[in-house]
């Protein structure tokens, strides 16, 4: 009983410390709980924590798990190793990430934000639910190479985790389901919706765009928006964008659906936070946005499943290209990558 009281008080202090001076829509200290709010003008999310009631304790537990290397076989790699906050939770400057024993992955580590709007996870959409997403990297031999069962055993042996599970779920039973739900609380609250573009759209202070950026917005809307749809800047479909398959010959979505029409298709990534998430594409082969635009202008690899919209590439004048790059720069959410709530140190 004494134990519970102590941790409750600590949690209370945490709310004050974390809320700071700025108000944040997804974190309401008055209610004493974490809140998930749909940003103005955004569609209904796929996941809204059904059966996984949000709480400060759950969020903190999920965050601790996210940054805990004990999720890997040799206790060396955490989720945060390849999903760094300053990189919008992608892996900065890595085409592929290295797992335990420096084993190399085969696809670029995607950023983590606005996951509650995703219907499928990973580049191929193989996982159908945010709560089940972590099982894949935990058990993938080239990532964490651990069994969920072993992770659960490690957590059960740890007093601090038992306390945190009790604070979250009411008793200290530790199961894979509870662990996964807690991680989903942390990941689901990683909402990036405060870029300059967002403030512009909402008519908020700090939301000014200059003429070049506004011209870039028009270029984006006429040349990019059919796949990178506002406001998430992805339609979350699977498309072949003309990357020439490497020696890995990654079949993409077809690996999941086993149908030929899905060969070399990958989930359309968001255009948000590109400043922080280089390199680009599922193959991580393009180091700069200039290189990305070069790819769309003249690098399209023709193949039977190439997206019809890309058969002639995307041709931009020098002016359009410059404007577009300036517009894309307004999609970077500095508030998100500096948000103290998501920072590794507690």
């Amino acid at each position: 009983m004494k134990h519970i009281r102590t941790s409750f008080v600590l949690a209370g202090i945490g709310i004050l410390a974390l809320s700071g001076c700025k108000t944040d829509p997804s974190f309401d200290p008055k209610k004493g709980e974490i809140a998930f709010n749909i940003p103005q003008g955004w569609p209904k999310p796929v996941y809204n924590f059904e059966g996984n009631p949000l709480s400060e304790a759950g969020f903190r537990l999920g965050k601790k798990l996210f940054f805990d290397p004990r999720l890997s076989r040799d206790n060396s790699i955490s989720c945060g190793s390849c999903h760094q906050q300053f990189s919008a939770f992608a892996h900065f400057d890595h085409d592929f990430s290295h797992g335990v024993e420096n084993r190399l992955g085969t696809r670029n580590s995607p950023p983590i934000f606005n996951l509650n709007w995703h219907g499928g996870f990973f580049w191929d959409g193989g996982v159908n639910h945010i709560e089940l997403q972590p099982v894949n990297p935990i058990q993938n031999p080239v990532e964490m190479d651990e069994k969920v069962e072993n992770v659960v055993s490690k957590l059960r042996a740890d007093d601090e985790y038992r306390t945190m599970f009790r604070n979250t779920f009411g008793d200290d039973s530790i199961t894979s389901q509870r662990m996964l739900k807690a991680i989903a609380q942390f990941m689901g609250l990683l909402v990036s919706s405060n870029s300059r573009y967002d403030k512009y759209v909402r008519g908020e202070e700090g939301g000014s765009m200059n003429e070049a950026e506004l011209r870039g917005l028009s270029v984006y809307r006429s040349k990019c928006a059919s796949c990178h749809t506002e406001p998430l800047f992805s339609d979350f479909s699977y498309r072949n964008n003309g990357r020439k398959p490497s020696a890995l010959n990654d079949s993409g979505r077809a690996r999941i659906t086993l149908v030929a029409e899905d060969m070399y298709k990958f989930k359309v990534p968001s255009l948000r936070n590109l400043k922080y998430t280089a390199p680009y594409m599922h193959d991580g082969a393009l180091k700069s946005l200039e290189a990305v635009l070069d790819h769309y202008a003249s690098g399209i690899h023709q193949s039977p499943t190439l997206d019809p919209l890309l058969i002639n590439g995307i041709q931009l004048t020098a002016q359009e290209r410059s404007d577009l790059l300036q517009f894309l720069n307004t999609l970077n959410d500095e508030q998100f990558i500096n948000d103290i709530r998501f920072r590794e140190t507690q």
Binding site: G51, N52, F122, G126, V127, N128, H129, I130, E131, L132, V135, N136, I138, Q139, N140, K147, V148, E149, V152, T175, S176, Q177, R178, L180, K181, A184, R255, I256, L258
Partner: protein, 232 residues
């Protein structure tokens, strides 16, 4: 429990033909039990488990569907093969039904627990879905050097669905109105996996690790492997 309800327990016995299935161990070859399947191929079985879910008891005066009805029958775990359904309304039941596999809803609604925990070696982490039935073994007819046979039967959607509804008539009505625990004994013949309507040659199907035709063929085979042996 009130006086209005009774209990029904189920006992699953895995068979190979007319004899109880014997699993072969990974090490002691002298204890291996070899089976001849329909095609004439030899097979020893080292691991065997499947989901039986969504149990329904049928009567003329109404059906009883067990809520949260998920069981993983694992041949290596005796306790997994016997379970009791409580709070069954006292009626005269004439049929039972259950699903082989985990329904679509639980394949698409996030992290589960109990029999559906991802820890049972019955869950695909890279392509979400439960393995509905799993058989591991060894056969000299397997074309790989390890002679592996590894059949992971999965798929919950569309033409790839391996979900199969089993409906079994009870040999005599199960009358809960007279009180007392009733026990339904079910026998399941593993050799049916390889028999009808699709005779399986191990040289052709020795590994199933994705959804698709091979999984569906085997599911169609094992969908009729269950028989009610007796009720006591």
């Amino acid at each position: 429990m009130t006086n209005e309800t009774g209990k029904v327990s189920f006992t699953f016995e895995n068979m190979a033909g007319s004899a109880p299935l014997v699993l072969s161990g990974p090490s002691d070859a002298s204890k291996d039990k070899w089976y001849i399947i329909e095609s004439g191929d030899s097979l020893k079985i080292t691991q065997y488990k499947y989901y039986a879910t969504n149990f329904v008891l049928h009567s003329d005066s109404g059906n009883y569907k067990q809520p949260e009805s998920y069981y993983l029958i694992d041949e290596s775990i005796p306790q997994s093969k016997q379970f009791t359904i409580d709070e069954v309304p006292k009626r005269k039941y004439t049929k039972i039904s259950f699903l082989i596999g985990v329904d679509e809803e639980r394949n698409t609604s996030g992290a589960q627990t109990g029999a559906l925990d991802v820890n049972h070696g019955m869950f695909w982490d890279w392509n979400t879905g439960y393995i509905m039935a799993r058989l591991e073994g060894v056969s000299p007819q397997s074309p790989v050097p390890s002679q592996t046979v590894s059949l992971h039967i999965a798929g919950f959607q569309g033409e790839n669905s391996v979900l199969r509804l089993v409906t079994l008539d009870l040999p005599q009505p199960l009358d809960l109105t007279d009180g007392g625990l009733k026990n339904i004994h079910i026998k399941a013949d593993v050799l049916e996996w390889f028999k009808t309507p699709n005779e399986i040659k191990i040289s052709e199907i020795f590994v199933v690790a994705s959804v698709g035709q091979d999984a569906v063929k085997i599911a169609n085979n094992y969908s009729d492997m269950f028989k009610i042996d007796h009720i006591d």
